[in-house]
Structure formats: C-alpha cells, structure tokens
Amino acid sequence: MRRGWPLVVCLTLALTFVFLGGLFAPHDPTEVVGGPWTRDGLLGTDVLGRDVLSRLLAGGSVLLAVAVPSGLAAGLLGTATGLAAAWSPRLERVVLRVSAGLLAVPGLLVTLACAVTLPSWVAVPASMVLLGTPLSARVVHAAAAPLRRAGFVQAAVVRGERTSYVLVGELLPAVAATVLSDLGLRIVAAFQLAVAVHVLGLGPAPPVADWAVMIRENLPGVVLNPWSVLAPAAAVAAVTTVVLLGLDLLGARIVPPARRTARVPPPASARSGRGLVELRGVVLQSDEGITLFDLTVARGEVLGIVGASGSGKTTLLRLLLGDVRPGAHVVGGELFLDGTPVAFGSTAARRWRRRNVGLVPQDPVAALDPLRRIGSSAPLARLGLPPDIGKRRPHALSGGQTRRVVFARAIHRNPALLLLDEPTSGLDPVTKALVTEEIAAPQRSTVIVTHDLEWARSVCDRVVELRSGALRSATDAPVAAPRAAIAPGEVVLRLENVAVPAHSTGEHLLREVSLTLRRGEMVAVVGASGAGKSTLLRALAGLHPLSGHVHLAGRMALLGQDPAGELNPAHTLAHAVGRPLRLVGEHPGRVPELLAEAGLGEQFLTRKPGQCSGGQRQRAALVRALAGDPDVLLADEPTSALDRSTAEVVLGLVNRRRAAGLAVLLVTHDEVLAEQADRVVDVVDGRCVERTRQ
C-alpha cells in the first residue's frame, strides 16, 4: 500500500475540489457582483459580472460526473471487445472491419448527431462509446493478439480454464499497461468531448456554473480578465492530469516497471587491475541482502562458476559485464576492464562489452528477437546447423537449434571474453561436444555459469562456487539419486498411430506414434533438436493439430519450454499457483506449502516473475502445473534451467506425485534426467522408437 497513498490523496483532493468546492465559494455562483470582466476579487468577474472564483468552485461536478463514466464505459467496452477479438479469429475479422468503418465516420458528425438528438447526459456517453470503443478495441487487440500463444495462456487452456477466465484472468493482466494507458486517454477524450458538447450550448442551461460553459462564454473577454478563461481551462487540465496520473500509479502497481540500473560513480582510485576483468571488493546490495564479490578473470583462462538456483550466478555474470541487475545497487568496490577502472552502468562499460564480449544467456529462446532472421555467420555450419537456417526466423527453430544459434552468435566475432550462462542445458550430447570444442579455443577468456559440475570440471581451468553470498572453491557434486521405483497403475494416456504435421509446411513431422502411459509412469522422449519432440507435446495438449487416436483418462497439464513466457508477468506466484487449485475446488491456503515443496519460501508468494531468477520461475511453473492435480503432466525440458541440487528437489516433487498416480511424459536432452524415467523413447526420422534398457 506504500506506493498507493499519493493516488488516494490526489483523487480525494480532486473529488473534494470538484464536488464540494461550491460550499467554499465566497459568492452565489449566479449572483452579479460587479461589471463584466473586471479584476475585482481573487479571479475577477466573468462575462456578466459574476465572481469567477465562485463559479470555478461550483463548476466541475457536472462535467466530471458525465466525462469519467463515459470514458470508462468506452474504454472498458473497447477492452472487452479487443480481448475477445484477440482470442477468436472469427470475431477478430468482424471487430476489425466494423471498428475500421466506425473510425472512418467523421467524429464531428457523430458528436453533433448525438448532441442534438439526445439529452446531454446521454449524448456524451453515447458519442464517446461510438467514437472511443472502436479505438480501444483495436489498441487492446493489437497488444493482446501476439500473446495468444504465450506459455501462460496455453497452460491455462490446457488445464481447462473457461475462455472468460483466460481473457480476464490471464490476457487482461498481461496487457494491463496498455489497457490502463488507453483508459486514461479515453477519459481525457471524454472530458474534451463533454467540454465540446457543453460549449456547443447543449450542456447545462445558464446560469449554471460549468467549466466548459465558462471557457466559452468568457472567450471574448480573455484579455480583459484572463482568469475568466484560464482558471476553468486550468481546472479542466488539472482534473484530467490527476485522472491520468492516478491511472498511471494504478498501472505501476499491477505491472511493476523494471527499475533502471543505477549509475555508479567511477572508482576513486586509479590503480590498475589485473587480468582481463577484475571485480575488486564489489559489494552488491539488494532485497536478498549483501553480497561481496572478489574475482579476477585471467587472460586465456576458462573459469567455471557453479551455485544453487538463485544464489546470484547470473547477477555475477552481469557484474563482470559492468552492468547491475534491476533492483540491486553496487555500494562499494571497483571494476577493472582490461586493467582500466570503469564505472558500473557507464557507456565505457557498454562499449567495452560490445567490442570484447560474446554472451550466451540463460534463456536463449527468449533472447532472440522473433522478428529478425538468424542471418549467416561462419560458426553456424561448424555447429551442425542446417544450411538454410540463416533465412529462418526464431519461431522456425527448435529449442536446441536456438541454443546453438545463440552460441554461434556469441563466438561469431571471436571475442576476447566469452560468457556462457547455462550453455549446455537442453543440448543433445552431440551438440554439447561441439560446444566443448569451441570453448577450448586459444587466446580467449571464458566464464561459464552452469549447474553441470562434471562438465564444468572437464572444460574449466578453475571452478568457483557461489554459496551464501560469497565465492569459494567448488566442492564435489552429490551423487545422482537412484531411479524411483513406482509400480505403474492403469493406462491414462494411449496414442494409437498418431501423426503430427509440421507447423508451416503441413508435411508430417512425426508418423505412426503409438505410446501408452500408465499412472505413476514417467516416460522420456529424447531426440535431436528439431525432431518434433516439443511439437508432439503441444499436439497432445490440443495446441497443435494431429491425426490418429488419443485416449486420455483424466486431466492434463503442460509445462512449456520457455521459462520467461510460462508465467503471467502480472501475477504473483501465489496467484499463479492458487488459480489451478481453485479450479479443482481446493483451498488456495495450500499455496505456500506447494511452493515450499519446490524450495520456494514464503517470500516468493508476493513476487512476480520479473522479480525471480530463471530457475525460480521454472520451479514455480512446475508447481502451478502440478497444483491442479493433473493425471498427466506434459513437461518440456523441466530441469533445463535448474542446477543439479534444485533439479533433484523438483524431481523428488514429481516422484512423490507419481507415487500418488501422476503419469509424466517429458521431453529432454538431459540424459541424466532421461535416466530417471521408467522408459525412454527416441525420436528418429519422424518415428518413435522405445529404447531397450539393459
């Protein structure tokens, strides 16, 4: 509530001024107190010699009472129409065409027609709805249509939410910023429309005090007493400003804006650093507490950084780049790039990393701009990507291909420093070997953030672990847990001769897929990138066409591949997890317990996805998928963003559910994870082949 009080105070003051102002007027607003347009009194007199101040205080209520509801009506109706159009392609065509037609009618005519045929308190809402609704509908539709395939929307569809909930509960909050800024414009437009209608002489009859009428009747005397016009005009402007600011504050509460990186003054000392990058005594302060970083990346060194999910690995990576993550501040210490002191967040830091750094982020799928083609570069072919890949756009790539493309982009310009954030998660073994080969290139410093300690040991010169807010030497990894032994129950999902067409071409990506899934079973689907594994899951979830027979006994839940898009940016984790619970009639009081099971403590209940790390988001998405108590879980790379120990917590959670009858169909590149499955299915050349285990 801390951020809300200015809004409350502003609105209260504005409403008091508008509706009760008349009580404080020094004169009767209709009483003649002097000559026309004299400067007597605080604001002088008006066209007929009445007191401007008194009329100003009495004159806002009618205008506001007409304008705000009109603007709200138009904005809300438009939002509802726009959301519905974003959801239903058939409605979309109708809405787009009708709104285009309505927008093409000159507004002057509509306003006039409404104003002269209807009473004024109906005329403003009516013409506002006619003029504003098509506009709002188109704006909201444009914002919401691209989210049709967002992970959180699809998860809601798969868990069986009603369309109305998907629209209001998922799409609406996600486009709240757009909706609220549109709503503000609608109210301002309604205000100006109401002013126009009143000025036209179709509002309250004289001698009633009304700001719009005041502007109009005092126009000719604006030089004789400027306040007679300026005061009501300023009042109109002030009230609309308060309304807009109020909506802005409200919007900021629903979708918190990303805070900007604080610029830190350059270090006082001119001592030179060692190595390529050096963090010397850097103290980072954030909600999670204070972390001290002392780290030097030597030239030509391959350095590994390991640590539990949320321990600050990605934050450290950003610090090495001279950038501070939103919500954190550097309160001390120095950064040296190439031996030169550089301020965090400075242009110098940006220029240095532009020249010298190659970066592979944690979530490569989201890191590629969906509108830009991949483009060609030499490393693409070396990484085993198909020759035509440069002409494709990211949506035409599989998850594994995307990872390789992003890797290729990072090494393309042969950077002096290569930063890799979980580079091998979700990669098939062949690609992983290719990546390993690239890292060994000479004359280059490499920093690898990973949870794969074994791999890190095999490629790194030095491995450090980030634990409890400090860096130390890495300890040995725990031994992998044995496969859970759970007796399979009855069949919940049976696929008979299923074929899945490719998205664009229509040719079959997968053919003759037959598979049976029993309660308690976990089946892993493994295969090269682009083989169609994820598409199979989506098809089973009903999000992609398929042919053949699918028998499902019970509920299904989908856990998608793209951690950034899995959770609605406008919802807290408590809300995201609580929703499927309510859907199956359970009490949302279990939310903390469910999150705790996945290692997410109380403090995460009120956090939104933007305030969580990738691993935390992935765990929350899994908790949400399981909260609805599904019979079948379709999981796409569920542990790719997780370090090993966290992955085990997650796996333990899944296994407990399996013991209670959950069947899991998972798609993965991670052979360690596949080992945990009861059965493994390899996708080879568009067919599924069950692997025989020794």
Binding site: V32, W37, G201, P206, V222, V223, A233
Partner: protein, 493 residues
C-alpha cells in the same frame, strides 16, 4: 455556427494579447490619399465557399461587401436610414405611393463596356423577385410582374400595397447585373470595383476606372471571410488585415484597452429583444407584459451585454428614439405569475447573456424564469415565434420592412402574435402618406403604441463595432446596409 469554431475561438483571442506591442499612432486625418490596398476582414458564418450569385442567399458579411463593391444598386442608405441616390438619380411616386418612377443615371457602364440600361435593372429586380425564397423576400412590396422599363433610363415599379418608404426599403440590396446574366463566375457589374482574383476564402478587387462616381481612393480591395469572429479580431490585431468589421463588444473593449486600433461605432445596429407572445399565457394579460417591461434594468443590460457600446431603448424596433417606460412596481403582478421558460439560442453570444441577465432581473422582481438554450439550426423554426417567451435578434433594417415581416395581421411570420386590424389600417395609411414629415409622425405614433401594448421588450440597442488600423480612414458609419459600401475608404500607409 459549428461545434468547433466556437470552442476553439479561445485561441484566436489569445492573439489579442499581441495588441499591447505598439504605441497608438493617432495620426491626424488630413486630406484623403489615393492608392494602396485595403485588406478588409468580415465574418463569413458559413466559412466555406463564397457565394457568386448576388441575388440568392447572402449569408456572409464578406459576400455583401463584395457584391456592394462589384455591383451598383438603385439607392443606398444614408446616414439616418433615408435613401440616397446611386444608380437612380431621382425618384417620385404617385399620390398613393404605389407607383414609383426611378430615373437612372446615363453615365453608368458595366465593366464589360456596355452602358447600364433600365432593362438590366428590371431583369435584375425580376431575378431577385424570383429568388424570394432564397433571399428572404428582399424586394418587399414590389409587384415585379407589373413593373416596367420606360426607355433606357427609367424604371417604373408598382407595389402590391402603398409603400412610401420603398426607396429606403430597397436601399443597398438591388444589385444590378447585365440583362440575361445567369452565370456569375466572371462577374460583370457597374460598381466602383471589379474582380481581379477570387478563391473560396478571399477576393481581390481592383478599382473600376469606368465607374461613374468619384474615383475611389483605393487601388485594391482585398475581402476576406473569417469563420471565427475571434480569428477576425486576432487578424486585425496582428496586422494581417486592416479592418475587422462587426466585432464583438469585448473585442472593441480589448482594442480600446490596448489602444493600438481605431474603434468605429455605428449606432443602434443590433438588439436582442425579449419577445412575449400575446396569444399565450401568461403574456396574454397586458398588465403582465407591462410589469415585465418595468421590472428590467435596461442600463445594466446595456452595460453587461454591450459593455456600454449601446443605448437603452423604448420597446420597439427601429432605434432608440422612443424612451423606455418608467420603472414601476411590478412585484405583485409578477409574483402571481407562475414560473416561465425563456428560450434562447447560441447563435449570437449576446442572446445567451441577455437571456441570463433578464432571467435574473425578473427573478429578483418575483417572476421565476428558467433559461433554455437551443442550437441555432433549430431555434428560429422551433422556439422563436412559437414559445410564449423567447429571445429575438434585430439588425437595423428599416422599420416598415420589419413591420411587414412580423407585425401585421397578414404577416407570414408574426413573432409576438401582434394582430390588430386598427394597427394594420393605420400602418397602411402611413405607408400611403407621401409627405415624409407627416408619415414620420404617424409612424412614431404607431411605434409608441407598439411599445406600450406590444409583446416586444427592446431594452436597448448595441452599436455596430469595427476595428481598423489607424491608417484606415473613411469607413462607413451609416445605418443598415450603408456599412457594406467601401468606395470612400482611403489608406495612409
């Protein structure tokens, strides 16, 4: 008036602030100077296209000014509304004032070169008569079918009823075009100016050196229409035009305050009367009408609505010569009358102001009045002349013309329901009185009677107000259409 022209008028008014920049020049008038261009701005309520036909609807003041410069008329209004010679050098009537002979001047030629003959005049009058619906019956009592041309320089007009004021009634409105003209794209007239170029916003006229009259001082006359009165005032303030005709009292007051522009006043040009229907309760009772008339504070109205640029008046159309009734005790009569609605329109800003103040004054005297506004497009057909209490709008058209339009039993449109056969007869007899002083006395008597018994409350007249740069001299100051004849204007740069 449109939705937006009024709403945004504010902006132009800000331009008036510019007036404070230069000191007043106050140059002595001296003898007229020849040459130069006069840039003349007038309100064009339509704002759209300029009208080409001089005989159809002329909405815009800018169109009137252009027609008056391009074409000659039979007579022009003089300083006090009497007719003065123009194309007609002299006129006379028979004893009953129902047949009039107008002698035309022999030296008038059209800009195309041909002399102006009686046939051209008769053709033009016929055309005006045929377009009576468009031009509001501009010909009045003239029976055009019975009128004839005698030779090349005499026109004989017969009237449908005796009309001793015919020359004054026709003053300024009988634009003469060559016989047979139906296309006015390339206008041919015999006026002091001829057309050089024109687009929908403005027209450039140059001096017609073949005009019969004294050589006009101006070389060029640029006439521009402004949809928005405030933009017009802004244009003259910032020097984009030399004259702004018919500005609001507030604009004149502003100009006087800042002191850079000349304000010319044409007395008694406009009035916003209160109209009470004689055939509708409660104003069918004479004592109620008298009480209303004596309850209003006329000077306060003139001061507020015309900002003092005007004069109080007795309750009849035609000027301020009839004194207002002395105020008496109206309270007891008015208190007994139930609440009434006063209808008004936003067509002219003064009509709303006047209605609001009248309502307040009558309220103080015991009569509760609610003001109801109408848009201009519907007011004149739906409220004015229909509702028991409504606001009217008078310009300074001649009194007999106004009486025929609205105050006779046989008038097509009777704004207050004043139907009195005795009055009709007295009026007809006055109109057939050729002797002007006897006629004037008879008319004054009639007007006093209307003021005492009628439903008109003409509380005051406002001046016609023109703003001009100090270099402009010789602007018309006469009554009525005299304001649109600009051939005597001169400019000292």
């Amino acid at each position: 008036m449109s939705l937006f022209s009024r709403r945004t008028a504010l902006v132009a008014v800000f331009g008036l602030v510019a007036a404070g920049c230069a000191a007043p020049t106050g140059a002595a008038q001296g003898p007229p100077v020849d040459g130069g261009t006069l840039r003349y701005g007038a309100v064009a309520a339509g704002g759209g296209s300029a009208v080409a036909d001089p005989h159809g609807s002329l909405f815009n003041e800018s169109d009137w000014v252009r027609m008056a410069a391009l074409y000659d008329v039979l007579t022009v209004p003089g300083r006090n509304g009497e007719a003065e010679p123009r194309l007609a050098t002299s006129w006379s009537s028979d004893a009953t004032a129902s047949t009039w002979r107008f002698e035309l001047r022999t030296d008038a030629v059209f800009s195309a070169g041909r002399p102006v003959r009686a046939a051209d005049v008769l053709f033009s009058l016929r055309r005006i008569g045929a377009k009576a619906a468009q031009n509001g019956g501009r010909l009045g009592t003239v029976d055009i079918a019975a009128s004839t041309a005698e030779g090349d320089h005499t026109v004989v007009l017969r009237t449908s009823q005796p009309d001793a004021e015919l020359p004054a009634a026709l003053a300024g409105v009988t634009f003469v075009v060559p016989d047979g003209t139906e296309n006015f794209d390339q206008p041919v007239g015999s006026g002091p100016f001829r057309l050089s170029t024109m687009d929908s916003q403005a027209a450039v006229l140059v001096r017609n050196d073949r005009w019969w009259g004294p050589r006009p001082h101006l070389d060029r006359l640029e006439i521009r229409g402004f949809a928005d009165p405030q933009a017009l005032a802004g244009a003259v303030t910032s020097g984009e035009v030399d004259v702004a005709a018919n500005v609001s009292p507030a604009a004149a007051k502003t100009a006087e305050t800042t002191g850079r522009l000349t304000v010319s006043r044409r007395p008694a040009a406009v009035a916003y009367p209160l109209l009470m229907r004689l055939d509708r309760a409660p104003f069918d009772r004479p004592e109620v009408r008298r009480a209303v008339k004596s309850a209003v504070d006329r000077q306060a109205l003139v001061d507020a609505v015309f900002l003092g640029y005007g004069k109080t008046s007795g309750d009849v159309q035609g000027g301020t010569d009839i004194p207002p009734p002395s105020s008496g005790d109206a309270g007891s009569t008015l208190a007994a009358v139930g609440p009434v609605v006063l209808h008004t329109t936003t067509a002219y800003p003064g009509m709303v102001s006047a209605a609001t103040l009248l309502a307040q004054q009558l309220g103080a005297a015991g009569l509760k009045v609610e003001v109801r506004q109408h848009p201009p497009e519907t007011y004149w057909t739906q409220a004015y002349g229909v509702e028991p209490l409504a606001m009217g709008y008078y310009t300074d058209i001649p009194f007999p013309v106004w009486v025929r339009q609205t105050a006779l039993s046989g008038s097509a449109f009777n704004e207050t329901g004043w139907r009195d056969p005795g009055f009709d007869a007295s009026f007809a007899s006055a109109m057939s009185t050729v002797d002007s002083s006897r006629r004037a006395a008879a008319l004054t008597q009639l007007r006093s009677r209307m003021a005492a018994d009628g439903g008109w409350l003409v509380w005051g007249y406002g001046d016609g107000l023109d703003l001009s740069s100090p270099s402009v001299h010789g602007l018309p100051t006469g009554a009525g259409f005299a304001r649109v004849f600009l051939e005597d204007v001169w400019v000292r740069r």
